[in-house]
Subunit: 296 residues, 4 copies
């Protein structure tokens, strides 16, 4: 029986959970009882979920069970923790680059390594009017993301934001669409528009300030969403992407995914009441799903 | 064959999703194109998930299929939307009271009605330095909750907060516990302490400002968590509850649930490195689970 | 400031994942290459999620951070694995009894220990017409459950089944209910009836065959559901519980929870078609929720 | 400001829940009371989740908000229900073809339509030794899937199975892999091997019996998994795919995804016990993730 051809393979480790604490400040002035030994007054917290996927010349591991070149996925996981300890983590893009370079340099059969990172966001807890420094509260539901793809020629970075739940309660219409015998949707010039947005973007060449650019992209998307006079989800999605490309030079292209989380006005006439576009049922099944990529 | 005794029954409707928009401001000054018809400059958004459960003299509906007194759960759902339209929703506690009274007054066989509300929190999107007014972003992951139990004698209110994810990176120890032949946990005076806290509290009699009290309880819990010199999860849970009872007179009792989301230090010695209490794996399975109720 | 009173406390470990393999048969006849060292031809697989909760005289651990009597939840977890290795696991009820006795005997401040077990069900993979013996496929989505509550006087066992998803496509009606100004539900004598049932039951005194009784209860519930001429969810829930009490002497009481996963007929008239009660949208939000306990 | 280029777009409706009942048999012999009006003795149940995505010349809907060619996603949903009523649903592949053809014929700007279907599997409830015919129990956790991509030239079908949870307790090794300073994994020739497998496959040209082929592929995958003397997840994944290509002529290529749900042996030596490869902790975070496509 002839062997089947392997036309695509990938292997790696997913959902590696990494929390890295960095302690800043003069340990001698650290507040607290003698019991507490944590150094420093001001702690920095990074909380990542990392996935690593190897692509390369690994066919005999599939066909023959030859593991000679198969770096164990357990070692991939250990490497994440080792590099986090030795080098620190910083921004997700930088940590992804560090991991990608490490793996590509040491694994001769490796052609391409994908590192996907989710950056779970925390804010400092404030006590009175100052930040406590060593206590945190999770911000969400949205997360920051990064994907770094490294091969023998270099690395490509995609930054992103996932699960940003937003709603506008005015200036959203959907009219003028084609009708057929299965159309029942009423036209509207005043609907709720809610979505859980995912965006990913690439950068032009050169030095990028990853953290501040992320914040600027996020705020630009929020403002464009708020201000847009929407004729459809597609229309607003485009305006949001366009706004990022217009105002942030280092962004080369941006992809947006916007599920339309329909908020349906309740028909209150059967209950003897009027719905002045004020009472809605929120649904997530089914949902529209709109996607596009915009490039310079 | 004798009938089995019904020793407990309950029926109702769960996961009723309600979004209520209230439009404030002078419509004539509303910004935006002529297309948009939404009135007002400043919109208010409430986003609730409601569950209603009836307890009462409904045994024959079980034993005989006699539906004469069984208000359909579909009607319960409609009532939520109808009262939201007619009366507005306001705070979750107030809307729960409204619903409870409505049902208890109209259903003679009803002994007790439980209304559970989840208040999904949204913040206004800011454009430049002002709030846009008609666009919102979901804040989370924590939610505000309320439970209103209404019977023929009145109503009991429980307010709460669910899924508040918090972490402290200093002043957390666990030492001095008993050891047996199955003990392997090392004692520590400097561990990470992370939890997804759920709290519920009851009120003393009298007028309560639900919204401002909720904010005060939340902030008090955060500050007590940050400032506590923790000897265990139990110890900090108690300090947090005590802090609420100490500083907020209208709270009668408070229940706290704190899963211990273990953050385990990675053993880097086998990797030829030192872990200076900086690199951790975040886990949620298994987790400790600590609960207590504190009363005045 | 006076201390708050602790009116209820509990602490323990949740979501302890345990897989126990037992290898039966003559190792010398074990098939397979010399590489494989697993003994025996026929393996037995148990896959449990265990939660342990302690209640007792632990107030000073909350109020003072005094850990002298606080068996670490990490030790609870280790104990699960140690007893599974030393004693085997068998049925979930038996393993829960073993754990409960172990903890109550060794912890003087412990008043009551709750052990909750989820038994994830696997079936053997068949090759040709025989069971392979050492390969398994998960059966679900339903799971078997057990709760064992042990105190100084003995133990109480509750067995159960969770997440049994069932549907009947005939003999389900809902009519004759009260109507008010918010009623819009049409009466029907031919609807779909779907639920994800959870049942728990207690036993009369005496020796119980846990495994075979579980199978008999499950089959009795399925048959009663299929055969019932349903006038409401309540009506069928009762018939199912009654059927268990009628036919299985060792069951003392049974509690059933049945969310009504509404399957709504699509209104096809607006699409120029007729729906002869054949096309439905399945929903799970909102859902009815019906509960009852039946006792001898 | 120049418009950004749209380099990729897609829009559609996801998570359309469809349940279709077909009633067979002579209504006059239907059992049950006069109340029940459902026709036929033997009902057939199909339970699909459908997603539809349009790709085509829709750029002005993004750039200008021009909806003239934008078939509403609500109409897509209605079309699913209308065709299900008018034509029946049958196998998921056939229903996907029907939907694809419908949309491509009626929408001039549409270049390609993707229809993804999840077939939720139900079995008949048996009463005594016969199938009841009108009552069902969900089988899982695995589901059957299909993807149909239709363009102006025809349609391409991909069938699949998702979430098949399987475990082998013998004949699984992982040895001979490269080691570096971050390697801590011990070599083993006797580990547990568990996964939640997803497979998708394409067909050669010609008439395919979709339902029976699905069952044959599923059983072939299960048997190959059980019988394989595994040197790694990669090795077994390949053997499973190869076995399908070897024995089922109509399959052209097959893609497999196998997360390695690690079952880690508990170190019992610190508890004074021996683990004879019998006691494991089941984990799903982190997990290995192995993928490959095999083609003739």
């Amino acid at each position: 029986m002839p062997h089947a051809a392997l036309t695509q393979t990938s292997y790696g480790k997913s959902r590696i959970r990494l929390v890295r604490v960095t302690r800043h400040g003069d340990p001698s002035t650290s507040s607290g009882s003698s019991r507490a030994t944590s150094r420093g007054d001001r702690h920095e917290l990074r909380d990542f979920t990392v996935a690593i996927a190897f692509e390369g010349s690994y066919d005999t591991s599939y066909t023959e069970g030859d593991n000679r070149d198969v770096l164990p996925t357990d070692t991939m996981k250990n490497t994440v923790y080792a590099l986090a300890a030795r080098e620190g983590v910083g921004e997700p893009e930088g940590f992804g680059l560090l991991l990608g370079r490490h793996f590509i340099e040491r694994n001769p059969k490796l052609t391409r390594v994908n590192v996907d990172l989710i950056d779970h966001l925390w804010g400092g807890i404030t006590v009175g009017d100052r930040e406590h420094g060593r206590a945190f509260v999770r911000r969400g539901p949205d997360t920051r993301t990064a994907r770094v793809v490294t091969d023998r020629d270099g690395a490509a970075i995609t930054a992103g934001i996932a699960g940003l739940v937003i709603m506008k309660t005015a200036h959203s219409a959907f009219e003028g669409y084609p009708r057929d015998e299965f159309t029942t949707l009423p036209e509207t010039n005043d609907r709720l528009f809610a979505t859980s947005m995912t965006a990913t973007w690439t950068y032009t060449d050169g030095e990028i300030e990853f953290a501040s650019t992320f914040r600027t992209v996020r705020q630009t998307l929020l403002e464009a969403f708020a201000e847009h006079d929407s004729l459809s989800v597609q229309h607003t999605l485009y305006a949001m992407g366009q706004s990022v490309l217009d105002s942030i030079d280092v962004v080369q292209s941006i992809s947006l995914e916007m599920p339309n989380r329909h908020h349906l006005p309740i028909d209150l006439t059967r209950l003897g009441l009027e719905n002045r576009n004020e009472v809605f049922v929120a649904t997530d099944e089914p949902h529209g799903l709109i996607k596009a990529t915009l490039s310079r």
